[in-house]
Symmetry: C2
Subunit: 153 residues, 2 copies
Amino acid sequence: MDELDSAIVRELQRDARQSNRDIARKVGVAPSTCLERTRLLRERGVIRGYHADIAPAALNRGVQALVSVQVRPLSRAVIDAFKAFAHGLPEVTAVFVMAGNDDFVIHVGAQDNEHLHAFLVDRLSQRKEIVGFRTSIIFQHLAKHDPAPLPGT
Amino acid sequence: MDELDSAIVRELQRDARQSNRDIARKVGVAPSTCLERTRLLRERGVIRGYHADIAPAALNRGVQALVSVQVRPLSRAVIDAFKAFAHGLPEVTAVFVMAGNDDFVIHVGAQDNEHLHAFLVDRLSQRKEIVGFRTSIIFQHLAKHDPAPLPGT
DNA sequence: GATGTCACCGAACGTTGTTCGGCAGAGCGT
DNA sequence: ACGCTCTGCCGAACAACGTTCGGTGACATC
C-alpha cells in the first residue's frame, strides 16, 4: 500500500468507470503497470468491488430510516439469526451490528411512509427475539464516496 | 425506467467495471443501445456515479462508530453549519440529518479506539452548538451494494 | 395508407484492455 | 567489487472494446 496504490484507489473511488489508461496517466505510470497494481489490490482485498450509486427514488426508496433494534437473549445464535433475517429483507440496505444500548441499527428504504410503516409492523415486529425498536426518519444522507485514507501512526 | 433500464442498473450495481458489451449481452440488447440507455440514466440522475468499495482497514479506518448528535438551537443556520462541518471532517464517512430524538447521526471511521476518542474529544465536542452526543461502536457493517428496486404501487 | 417519430440495430473506426518479453535497479551473498 | 536473483516497471502487439452514425422496423397520428 504505497503512494502509487493510494493514488489508484483514490481514482477508482472517485470514478470507477474511467479507463485504465486514464488512471495510469493521472497517477503517472504505464497502463500495464496500473492494471497489474489494480489486479493486486483486488486480490489482496483492498478493493472489494465496484458499484453504481443509484438515486434511491429510482428504486422506489424515497423514504429512508434508521431503525435501532434490541434483541434478547444476546446469544450468538440469536444475533446471527436476526442479522441474516434483516439482511435478507429487500427494504433493508445496510445492517450495523452494534455495541452499546442498541444491538442493531438497520438502514431501511421504502416507497413512502405508509410502506415504511407496513414494513415495521408486518415484517420487523413479527420477530420474537426483538424486545424493542426505535425508528428515525432520515431527512438527508450525505455520503462520502471517496473517503481519504487517514494518516497512520 | 422500464425493464431494460432496471436490468442495466442492476448490472452496474453488481459490477460497475464490467464492459458495456458484457452488460448489453446480459440484458439482451445491442452494445450501442445499452450505451445510449446508460448515458440517459446518467443524465436523468438515476445513476449518480460509480465508486470502488475499499476495505476500511486499508484506509486506516479499522474502528467505526455511529455518533448520535443533538444540536441547539434547531435553526436552519445551525443545522446547515453543523452538517457542513461534520461532512468536512476526514474521519466522517457519512452524515444523516434525522427526524426524532437525534438531530444527526454521523458515521465515523478511525484507526483505533484511541484515535476515535481523540476525534470525539478534540473535534466534535469543540462545537458549541452540540448539546449532547452518544457514540456506539460498530462491530459489523453488512452493506447491500446492489439493493433491488422495490415494487411500486 | 402516407407520414413522422422513436427505439433499436449493426458496421466502422479509433481507442482500450491485456499479455508478454525485456530492462533497470535493489538486495544479497561471496 | 562482482555476479546473481528478484522485483517492478515499461512498451509493443493483438484482440477486444467504446462510440458514432446511417439505416430499419414498429407504432401512432392524421
